[in-house]
């Protein structure tokens, strides 16, 4: 039963028979194998997803090539599909969302990280995290019944009156449209900006602040001119994360954007986003070219969020390494 020994296994001085050791290792081997299979399945399923997106969009990729991204005609009857209106809509709504959410988010993060006492900061952060957990469809619900009427009755006419000379604020006030979707998206992404920026700001070493204060700067000056720039890359990372979230948002957007593939300078115009058009037209896309064009849109969205998420994590990592070395997500 016992085979002649060749080498004694390394760490752990186990005074037992060889078979005990090999049993030990066997149990571990099985555990390692099983857990490896689970871990590998994550990789496999992700690869499969990318593969399916690629394979499922072969027709429009061959037929339209890069023109897919330049054309704005979306015509199922004549089999002409161009992604431009959806890319435009996605960009515009996300852009508006960031314009609103970034100042608000960074401001709130500064308050939470620099000013608020620990207990208050933690409590508020708790609530912000809860806000991040609210599902998209609930934002959509509120968007339909609160934001749209508000926009249509008050905000859009007011903007039109005050700033109507700008091309952005012209056109009839439908209530739905790019601006409305951008506002709803802004509310949805603020929590991400706040929580990540707050973490990043908290990780800035104390001596930075103290150095600035000891040189005679005001609280605000030390924050704005020293601490925030130090955490700049991480804050950028939070913005990218927020952007990635905004790009992929489906339900809230499709409930308030107007669902029309339009390209317009006016923010009051109804529009469409990539995610919204997929949600609306996927189950009914008769014809392979139609369906695969929608899948190609899904591929585009996937690539965009993939790049942004990657950049975001890189930036956040860089900042945290520069800081006290606390590892972030």
């Amino acid at each position: 039963m016992a085979t002649p020994s060749t080498t004694v296994p390394g760490a752990g001085s186990v005074a037992g028979s060889r078979s005990f050791l090999s049993r030990l290792r066997q149990g571990d081997e099985i555990a390692r194998l099983i857990t490896f299979l689970f871990a590998a399945s994550v990789v496999l399923v992700t690869l499969l997803l990318v593969f399916e997106l690629w394979r499922g969009s072969v027709l429009p990729r061959h037929k339209f090539g890069l023109a897919f991204f330049r054309t704005s005609v979306w015509d199922p009857i004549f089999d002409q599909f161009g992604a431009l209106p959806f890319i435009f809509g996605t960009m515009v709504t996300s852009g508006i969302a960031l314009i609103i959410a970034v100042p608000l988010g960074i401001g709130a993060a500064i308050f939470l990280a620099e000013l608020a006492p620990q207990r208050l900061s933690d409590t508020l952060e708790f609530f912000i995290d809860l806000l991040a957990a609210v599902p998209s469809v609930i934002y959509g619900l509120l968007g339909v019944f609160i934001v749209i009427p508000l926009m249509r009755e008050y905000i859009q006419p007011a903007l039109k009156g005050a700033l109507g000379f700008l091309a952005f604020f012209q056109g009839p006030a439908y209530g739905v449209g790019f601006l409305t979707a951008g506002i709803v998206l802004a509310i949805m992404v603020i929590p991400y900006i706040i929580s990540v920026s707050r973490e990043v700001l908290l990780s800035v070493p104390r001596d930075q602040r103290e150095a600035a204060l000891s040189l005679g700067s005001t609280r605000w000056e030390s924050t704005w001119k020293v601490v925030v720039p130090f955490a700049r890359t991480g804050i950028m990372g939070s913005i990218f994360l927020a952007l990635a979230r905004a790009l992929g948002e489906t339900m809230a957007v499709t409930m308030v954007i107007g669902n029309t593939p339009a390209i317009s300078a006016s923010l009051f115009s109804p529009g469409y986003s990539i995610a919204a058009v997929i949600a609306n037209e996927f189950t009914e896309a008769t014809g392979d070219l139609y369906l695969q064009s929608l899948i190609e849109l899904g591929l585009v969205l996937f690539l965009l969020t993939f790049i942004l998420n990657g950049l975001a994590r890189l930036l956040i990592l860089v900042t945290s390494k520069r800081g006290s070395g606390t590892a972030l997500a």
Binding site: D75, P76, I77, Y174, Y272, N280, E284, T286
Partner: protein, 344 residues
Amino acid sequence: MKRMASMVLLALGLTGVLLADSTLSINGAGATFPYPMYSKWFDEYHKKNPNLQINYQSIGSGGGIKQVTEGTVDFGASDGPMNDEQLKAFQGKHGGSGILHFPTVLGAVVPTYNIRKVTSSLKFTPEALAGIYLGKITNWNDPAITGPNKGISLPAADIVVVHRADGSGTTYCWTDYLSKISEEWKSKIGKGTSVNWPVNQLGGKGNEGVMGVVKQTPNSIGYVELIYAIQNNTPFGDVRNSSGEFVKASLAGVSAAAAGAANNMPDDFRVSITDAPGKTAYPISTFTWLLIPEKISDAAKRDAIKGFLHWMMTDGQNYAEGLAYAKLPPPVVAKETKAIAKIQ
């Protein structure tokens, strides 16, 4: 941990057993146009046959055609009949066997609008409707609209045009009509369940979505099935028919539109009755069809569907008028009853 795992498995098994009882479930999807009718029918039929559930999801005619072709639902529903290409595609995916159209009821597509202080029915000429939807008539006080409506004060407001964002048989009927009465529409846009709409229009999902948008957006106009306008108490317009009469959508008007087709129904039941001749005919009327595959391999499902079709053409028709759909003309019913036998 182990105990929890086995408890979970037990619970799963139990729920699986408890819920997978003897109920037969049939799934269908498609048109939103007849959704109020179908949901009533399937509800009533379920009450009569508690072991049968017919689950119908209103995702639009385009969706109905697509999903029944893919085989993910047992039957489809559409108010735009499948064209030859789609029929071929179905055959291709089902080993050569085809799909049958069964008319269920008749309905009307009405132009419904939301203009402050205008609660009466506006009269629309075909040119006005085409112009509005082409984006050429942009204001409510345009002469093309105000002309036939002397006595009603229309505001000088921009028209908010609403269309279907999803693939829709209602769109098919609407664009079919517009193609018949407007050369410009026919060449520029054409007819179909999903068309390339002129810009600056709002999209709603389903008849419900369009109705919702119109209801909430002042100075808007949209096209919906009659019952949606009625159920939501929104005004809808009279449309001038090919004989020059302004007709308000009604059961009589729709039946009149179908009268000509009723006696000349093609064998596959695919027919268009828009802009039909006749003084009282409502010009934007349409049949709506259930799309049933010719070959249904599951015997229980096949019998259930056939049973439903028989009921639909007899007792079921009695529910139609209560929901503002017109009954099928008797010659059509007779022809359909014979066609049920084609389902194998």
